[in-house]
Structure formats: structure tokens, C-alpha cells
């Protein structure tokens, strides 16, 4: 199969896992810093916020990839 007709290359390269990890960390920090009271922010992120939208299918795939990548890194001993 020709390389240029394979969507897997583009799909994989566009999945920026390093950027995702940073965003994921910042989202978790924001969540932990905000209290769990009645006046706490809703789970729906606003358009301008840099929080991850877990209802987005691409984010869910990235989360799965993050877990597998971590496991791969452990196998390869890179991290």
C-alpha cells in the first residue's frame, strides 16, 4: 500500500502526547486545587479554558494512548 494513502501516519503524528500530558497535569492540578463544595466549578470546561474536555473522543483516545505509552516506556526502560 502506498504510504501517501495511509491515514495512520497522519493520525499518529497529530496525536501530540507530550502536549496532552502537560494539559492533563494542569487539569488535574486545577481540579485538586478547587474545592468540592457547592460553589465549585462545573465539570463542563468553558471554551476559553485550557482544561481537557473528556467528552471529546480524541481526548479519550489520547488518555488510552497515554497509559499504553507509559507501559511501553517501562518495557523499553526509557522513563
Amino acid at each position: 500500500m502506498s504510504r501517501q494513502y495511509n491515514p495512520a501516519i497522519t493520525a499518529y503524528k497529530r496525536m501530540d502526547l507530550d502536549g496532552f500530558n502537560e494539559l492533563d497535569k494542569s487539569t488535574e492540578q486545577e481540579k485538586s486545587s478547587s474545592g468540592g463544595g457547592l460553589l465549585s466549578r462545573s465539570s463542563m470546561p468553558s471554551k476559553n479554558s485550557k482544561e481537557l474536555d473528556y467528552s471529546n473522543p480524541a481526548v479519550r483516545v489520547a488518555k488510552q494512548m497515554q497509559v499504553i505509552r507509559k507501559y511501553r516506556d517501562e518495557i523499553n526502560g526509557t522513563k
Binding site: 493520525a11 483516545v61 488510552q64 494512548m65 518495557i75
Partner: protein, 169 residues
């Protein structure tokens, strides 16, 4: 790409797809899994079986790129009516990561398929040309500096007095 002059008979006849009853093909009926989560679960379960992993390791060892494998797997699932094309596209990176993990755990030197081997390398002649151009430019700049100095000196020497009382030569 060079086109073969021989007619290919190993292809569907134009309009063949319309000869079957609508909905009789798996991809024409609603997909079995409609969400990314369901599809990921399906692949995780399928790929974690020992038979699949062994087959996958064999194929990887044969030198098949991971990208090709992942695309083939998702495309065959679309044809079987497991999930839609768009869900397949979304799941592709995860599939690739999973295949690479199988390769890593089996200790195989697999081809990820992400690097473009056909990409033309920088030609040696081009590098040589750039070097020669640079050298010319540098030496040219040196000459002009010297010339500029000489010109300046000459100008200073030949500068005539401009005052009213200046003596004319």
C-alpha cells in the same frame, strides 16, 4: 507511478456495488460499536488474546510496518460492520500504540512506518555548491573591505581644502 499496459481483470466491474441489495453488506447496516470507548474495549479484548499477539509478533518480525497493520485491522473491522470509518480513524493511533507495545514486549525490531524512507536526502553536490558559494561570498567580502580602505585612504589624501583663504594647487 508507471501504469501497466496490461488490462487488469482483478477488479470489480463498474457498478458492481449497486447489484447487491441495499443493506445486505455488513458496512451498510448500523455499526456494532458506535462510540470510541466501546471500540477501544473491543480492540483491547481482541488484541490481548495470546493467538493474536503471536500472529502480530510474526507479522511484525516479517517487516510489515505498524502503520499498515493498524490501518488494515481497522479497515477490516469497518468492512465487518464492527465500527464506522470515523470511529476507526479516531482509534487508529491507539491501535498503533498497542501494536508497538506488543512489538516492544516481544523484543522485536519493528518498522513503525512513520519515517519516510523515500524522502530524498540532501545531495552531496548541493552541499558542495553551498560551500563554494559561501567561500566565494566570504572571500568577496574580504576584498571589498580592503578596497574600501584603499578608496578611503585615497579620498583622505586627495581631499582639497574648501576654505575661502585656502591656497589653490
Amino acid at each position: 507511478m508507471e501504469l501497466s499496459n496490461q488490462p487488469s481483470f482483478d477488479a470489480p466491474i463498474p457498478g458492481q456495488s449497486l447489484t447487491m441489495e441495499l443493506g445486505s453488506r455488513p458496512w451498510q447496516s448500523p455499526a456494532q460499536f458506535t462510540t470510541v470507548d466501546e471500540t477501544i474495549d473491543y480492540y483491547m479484548e481482541r488484541m490481548s488474546s495470546e493467538d493474536f499477539m503471536l500472529q502480530l509478533a510474526d507479522v511484525l518480525e516479517m517487516g510489515t510496518p505498524v502503520t499498515v497493520l493498524a490501518n488494515t485491522i481497522q479497515m477490516s473491522s469497518v468492512m465487518e460492520g464492527v465500527h464506522t470509518v470515523d470511529v476507526g480513524m479516531l482509534v487508529l493511533p491507539m491501535l498503533m500504540e498497542m501494536i508497538m507495545m506488543v512489538g516492544d514486549s516481544a523484543g522485536i525490531q519493528y518498522d513503525s512506518g512513520l519515517e519516510n524512507k523515500d524522502k530524498p536526502k540532501t545531495r552531496d553536490t548541493l552541499i558542495a555548491k553551498v560551500i563554494s558559494d559561501y567561500e566565494k561570498e566570504v572571500s568577496g567580502a574580504g576584498l571589498s573591505d580592503r578596497e574600501e580602505k584603499e578608496v578611503k585612504d585615497e579620498v583622505e589624501e586627495e581631499e582639497e581644502p574648501k576654505g575661502l583663504m585656502a591656497r589653490r594647487t
